[in-house]
């Protein structure tokens, strides 16, 4: 049976049935050599909101390499570090101010690249929109490459059936929008999380509510409500065909007990018992068993929501609650004294101050990513087989677009606009690491494509959103529709 035919059959079986069937019949390209089939794979999406320019990171250009260095975005030679035995560059720099923000900063990438180069893959591409929200969403749907489903939804469908919260999304704007493939079961869509530090409280109906009767009494009341009062309610009877009512009942009577039974209100709680701001024990709550570990890794989690996101992301994966998590910075400014943690508009502060915005944001995202990877590497997924969570994870730094390359007369302080041409950074042991697919023309600063099968650079070619979309899913062992390219060059095996 061809893939297309099977997909059509699965679609007719209905979304839920398809989900179950996919779990047993789908055989991804290259899956045979990718380890224990029963272990799930995990997708972490780090939303580089605002336009993360790939030539301000791993594909940076030195002045000495470009005949047009005065008019394009290139760096003083000393600020671009070559990484031994690697095609990647790293930008290490410091400045006395970030545009109009009069605070000095120092940003480094070389430590991250040296440490993680073997899991790093850069894929060049050219997008289709310079509108933030649209481009954000397209970076996740591959510009509607597969019926409008996002990469996270595809991963949730493949590996998340039966989990409490297969797909959790803590990012914003277009990165938080659900896909448009209505054939997917409801559980494959993302659960949005706005406050990662306090969110675990929403995973129990009564724990930590002051004055709430004992849990067994609450359970009795729920039973009366669900089986008698609502069961006999004229309202429920009249509106029994309502999708919202059916969904509510399923969530209330099936999913909610699962969430409570897993004690996620505790296991995902990253907060310390710290009265008066966080009086957990006064409310019968306790920190999760891994809370101290994640607080050590992300010590500014109370000040920086993205650190809290990363902490929660780890716990969601580690506790096998989710198979895909998405995190991303806010567009709000975040300062720690005179340290710029998050510039206003995140990467998009490049409009005002390109170089500082890119440098600070790359430093920020790589730093968080580094700590998250370390936690996942230290966490066994299958101890007997020596497989860690990181061994089965793929981290996709999704971004909406690149930035315009032009600058005036070699100025260091310049602004940039949105530009379709760019590239994406991905990390995973399942990817072909220490590799740049495609390349960058030092004369223009524009990237060019590659052969999807061999990975050979091809200056006459540009890759697009579906290439990245397909490559991410295929590396995770997910069979993609026949219309999508086989991105063999992105996979390690």
């Amino acid at each position: 049976m061809s893939r297309l035919t099977r997909r059509q059959v699965l679609r007719r079986l209905g979304a839920a049935g398809a989900a179950a069937a996919l779990g047993t019949v789908a055989r991804p390209r290259g899956a045979a050599a990718q380890g224990p089939a029963e272990l799930p794979r995990f997708l972490i999406v780090v939303a580089a909101a605002g336009g993360a320019s790939i030539i301000d990171g791993p594909l940076a250009i030195r002045h000495g390499e470009s005949p047009n260095w005065r008019s394009i975005n290139a760096f003083p030679d000393a600020e671009v570090v070559s990484i031994p035995d690697s095609p990647f560059r790293a930008v290490d720099l410091q400045r006395g101010n970030a545009g109009a923000i009069p605070f000095p900063f120092r940003a480094t990438q070389s430590g991250f690249v040296r440490k993680h180069k073997d899991d790093m893959l850069v894929v060049t591409h050219t997008g289709t929109s310079v509108n933030h929200s649209i481009a954000q969403k397209r970076s996740l749907t591959g510009n509607n490459a597969w019926n409008g489903r996002t990469v996270q939804e595809a991963v949730a469908l493949q590996f998340g059936q039966g989990l409490a919260l297969p797909n959790v999304n803590m990012a914003g704007q277009g990165y938080l929008e659900p896909g448009t493939d209505n054939s997917l079961p409801p559980w494959a869509f993302a659960e949005p999380v706005a406050n990662p530090d306090l969110w675990s409280l929403s995973l129990h109906g009564s724990r930590g509510v002051r004055g709430a009767p004992d849990a067994d009494l609450v359970a009795m009341a729920r039973k009366v409500r669900d089986e008698k009062l609502d069961a006999e309610s004229a309202f429920a009877e009249a509106f029994r065909l309502s999708p919202a009512l059916k969904r509510w009942r399923a969530q209330r009577e099936q999913t909610a007990p699962m969430l409570e039974g897993l004690d996620l209100v505790t296991r995902l709680n990253i907060l310390p018992d710290q009265p008066p701001q966080l009086p957990l024990s006064d409310f019968g709550l306790t920190s999760g068993p891994d809370a101290e570990k994640v607080r050590a890794a992300f010590p500014r989690f109370l000040q920086d929501p993205m650190e809290a996101q990363a902490a929660l992301a780890f716990l969601l994966l580690k506790n096998r609650v989710s198979v895909t998590v998405t995190l991303g910075p806010s567009f709000n400014v975040l300062l720690d004294g005179q340290r710029i943690v998050n510039p206003p508009l995140a990467y998009d502060f490049s409009h005002q101050a390109h170089r500082p915005a890119q440098a600070i944001m790359w430093d920020r995202l790589l730093g968080l990513t580094d700590r998250l990877i370390d936690l996942l590497k230290a966490e066994p997924l299958d101890e007997g087989a020596g497989v860690s969570f990181w061994d089965r994870s793929l981290l996709y730094v999704a971004t909406e677009f690149g930035r315009s390359r032009r600058r005036q007369e070699g100025q260091d302080d310049f602004g940039s606009g949105h530009h379709l041409n760019n590239g994406s950074l991905l990390l995973s042991p399942m990817l072909k690491g220490n590799t740049v697919l495609g390349g960058v023309d030092p004369a223009t600063g524009l990237t060019y494509g590659f052969d999807p099968q061999t990975g050979a650079p091809d200056p006459g070619r540009t890759m697009s959103e579906p290439h990245v979309f397909a490559g991410v899913l295929q590396a995770l062992g997910i069979e993609t529709p026949a219309g999508l390219p086989d991105m063999r060059a992105m996979r390690r095996r």
Binding site: R210, R247, P305
Partner: protein, 234 residues
């Protein structure tokens, strides 16, 4: 009987037959009302109208376009029903407002400034029912404690309580309290069946041997009402 009256009765009879014949025993309600109209003109005199179907129950709404009320509406409804200031309906850890700070997006709200989330999600999230339960338990606990301490007034002040227990669960004051709660929250009287179920809940709660079964039951009766389908969807 006048012709138009007969036609109405006949129409109702046809509707009743339709209800019985309907696959699941309920005829859809259309925009024109149950059955879509008033019977079959010209045939009303041809048959003797059968008696209306006994206890047919409510008709089924075909366009059952229910929506989740969302955190803000629920907070306001809880506050109004229980005579609480909106700010006292629910806080987490005694400090952080459940709707404004902690569970806003979970409760179907937006977060334009931090998340760029400008439109509410079209469907409820996995943890939404639990967040609603937390709000209800918090609000109910406050209202019950306030009213029982006052010993009169409010929503629960008329309950006959002595030594932490209801003196008589069959007392009229119990039914009257539940009726008042339903009228405040659901804008309709409580039914005898609902009173019976909630009295049964009290017996179960009391059988657990807690120190304050009346208080626990009042909170839970309030909780079942505020988290009922009729309350959270509209």
């Amino acid at each position: 009987m006048r012709r138009d009256a007969w036609m109405r009765v006949f129409g109702a009879a046809l509707l009743a037959l339709g209800l019985v014949a309907c696959e699941e025993g309920r005829a859809p309600v259309t925009a024109d009302g149950p059955g879509g109209g008033g019977g079959a003109p010209g045939t009303a005199d041809a048959a003797t109208p059968p008696p209306p179907a006994a206890d047919a129950g409510p008709p089924t709404a075909q366009r059952a376009n229910l929506r989740f009320k969302g955190g803000l509406r629920l907070r306001n409804d809880f506050a109004q029903a229980l005579e609480l200031p909106a700010a006292e309906v629910c806080t987490e850890l005694g400090r952080y407002d459940c709707v404004d700070v902690v569970h806003g997006v979970t409760l179907g709200g937006v977060d334009p400034y931090e998340k760029g989330l400008y439109e509410a999600r079209p469907v409820t999230g996995v943890s939404t029912p639990l967040a609603v339960e937390r709000m209800a338990l918090s609000a109910c606990g406050r209202a019950v404690d306030r009213d029982l301490a006052a010993g009169e007034g409010g929503v629960f002040g008329a309950l006959p309580v002595a030594d932490g227990a209801l003196t008589d669960v069959e007392a009229e004051a119990v039914a009257a309290t539940l009726d008042g709660l339903y009228k405040r929250a659901l804008l309709r009287p409580v039914t005898p069946s609902e009173v019976a179920h909630l009295r049964g809940l009290y017996r179960d709660v009391a059988a657990k041997g807690g120190a304050a079964p009346a208080r626990d039951w009042a909170v839970l009766a309030c909780f079942t009402t505020l988290t009922s389908l009729e309350m959270v969807l509209y």
